[in-house]
């Protein structure tokens, strides 16, 4: 087994949360208040055989990144100061459970309902799932406050590097793991001006409110439901071709988003409850080809507002999204929004959550959406096994009560739909899924 040495630097004692990390603290509060949903993400690496657990356990346990992640505590700091992770060095190792499942490629429900809030002792764990057909999966579950999907992809790359048998020893660079401390020379008054500009933009963008599938009442009997739609390589090629036909100029992602919007719109139409659709869409804020940071949500956002004329058909929706994307990037909105979020870190959490609720009528968006783009395209082998599929399950956040997330890996697209059972009936879910397939594939 390769040995891993770090540089001579000790583990960092204190790592401040980013603006995006702190927004996940708000989501945590939101889940508590509404007694549903949360912040726990799951990534499942499917293997074509049953891997020896020791390979996985050894790899995870020898990783200094995993060690650090298992030995931290969230500190809120004094009033009007930034929250941070404090390294506790309690000698904890990652928990790795084992579960069995009859149906291949599924994440067991008990795992999907795992609770791992900010008051937990652990924010990351592993589970080896063994399927009846002699295949297996490694599922890593983590609280989204720790890292985003791209960060998890980078963590998997890191684990791959240190578990490779060809490396007798490997020196990892701490700089890759943690966010760099800000070297911004921006004056406070400039930051305040940017903050005000972004606040005004968001208020204008959400004026008049927006529609979502969520019901208004908290229902303590509601459950989170997770469904997965898979598109094989042939269907994926068809989706990409259709994306170009519908006017998506810069790759298929806006087409996937437009298809999701149109599918949600069919539910709202059936309920006679159409109106404005409003969506904050995250994307990776790191520079391209970067190997870090791993431990943070380094995310930029674009915001899309669609009125009924924009929702006429797929092409019109794609065009509207494209236009808004370019307009917002022209005014540097993504980087300015980061400044805005960084500012919000200084607000006490109760005040932050209050401001978000008041300004958004207690709802974050018409629905939540994310896409891993090509984060896992090259990850076809890991832990000495052939990876047949990678999937990431994003949690339900209620309201809005529906999360759509797309993963692209190994020439396949996977669409996950997570929803609250008090927001969508089974029949409505079937209708949503069918509509999504029709929009993506032109069936």
């Amino acid at each position: 087994m390769s040995s891993v040495t770090t540089t001579n630097r000790p583990f960092p004692e204190k790592v401040y949360l980013s603006g995006s990390d702190c927004f996940h603290l708000v989501i945590d509060s939101h889940a508590k208040a509404n007694k549903l949903g949360g912040n726990v993400m799951h990534i499942a690496l499917q293997f074509d055989s049953v891997l020896p657990p020791t390979i996985i356990i050894d790899s995870l346990q020898q990783s200094p990144v995993i060690h650090w992640l298992c030995n931290i505590k969230l500190k809120k700091g004094l009033i009007f100061s930034k929250p941070y992770w404090k390294y506790t060095n309690n000698g904890r190792e990652i928990i790795i459970d084992t579960l069995s499942s009859e149906i291949e490629k599924t994440i067991p429900t008990e795992l999907l309902n795992l609770e791992m809030g900010i008051k937990s002792e652990r924010f990351i764990q592993g589970t080896i799932v063994q399927y009846a057909n002699k295949t297996s999966a490694l599922v890593i579950s983590w609280n989204h406050i720790l890292m985003d999907g791209k960060g998890m992809g980078l963590l998997l790359n890191h684990l791959q590097r240190i578990s490779s048998e060809t490396n007798e020893s490997s020196t990892e660079d701490w700089n890759n793991y943690f966010p760099k401390t800000s070297s911004s020379q921006r004056k406070f008054i400039d930051s305040l001006w940017i903050f005000y500009g972004v606040k005004t933009f968001i208020q204008r963008s959400t004026r008049g409110g927006f529609k979502s599938i969520a019901t208004s009442k908290v229902d303590s009997t509601a459950q989170a439901v997770y469904q997965t739609l898979r598109f094989n390589p042939e269907e994926t090629i068809r989706i990409d071709k259709r994306a170009r036909e519908k006017g998506a100029r810069f790759g298929s992602n806006l087409f996937l988003l437009a298809s999701s919007i149109q599918s949600v719109q069919t539910i709202l139409t059936a309920r006679n409850n159409t109106g404005t659709i409003w969506l904050p869409i995250p994307y990776d804020g790191r520079k391209k080809n970067a190997q870090g940071p791993i431990i943070t949500n380094d995310v930029a956002y674009l915001f899309y507002r669609l009125e009924q004329p924009d929702l006429k058909d797929l092409e019109t929706t794609v065009l509207s999204l494209q236009t808004q994307m370019m307009d917002e990037m022209k005014i540097n909105l993504p980087s300015n929004y980061k400044v805005f979020l960084d500012f919000m870190r200084y607000f006490p959490l109760w005040l932050y959550y209050f401001l978000v609720r008041v300004n958004s009528d207690k709802n974050f968006a018409s629905f939540l959406y994310s896409s891993t783009h090509s984060n896992f395209d090259q990850l076809t082998n890991h832990f000495n096994g052939l990876v047949t599929e990678i999937n990431i399950m994003a949690p339900v956040v209620f309201p809005p009560g529906v999360t759509l997330s797309f993963v692209r890996q190994n020439e396949q697209i996977i669409a996950n739909i997570a929803y609250a059972s008090n927001c969508l009936s089974e029949a409505e879910y079937e209708h949503l899924a069918k509509s999504l397939r029709i929009n993506l594939l032109d069936l």
Binding site: F250, G251, L254, K287, K288, A290, M326, K330, H373
Partner: protein, 79 residues
Amino acid sequence: MDTITASLKHFIETNILTDNLQISEDTVLQEIGLDSFSIVEIILFIERKFDLLLPDELLVPETFTSLNTLTQAIHSCQV
């Protein structure tokens, strides 16, 4: 190196790619991680730097394959 190519190279290396990563005129941009957002950033840079709106027929994946293809596209608009 063509001055347009040099400008594009500098912009991409400074603003889009991770530190110290350098590209050549033939580097396939998608293979080093450039995505749809990066393409939009490049389009907006071309607009600002060369006072040029790329026409619809050039807003296709082939234009953004490499620095060379981008340079050719810009030259074709300046003729």
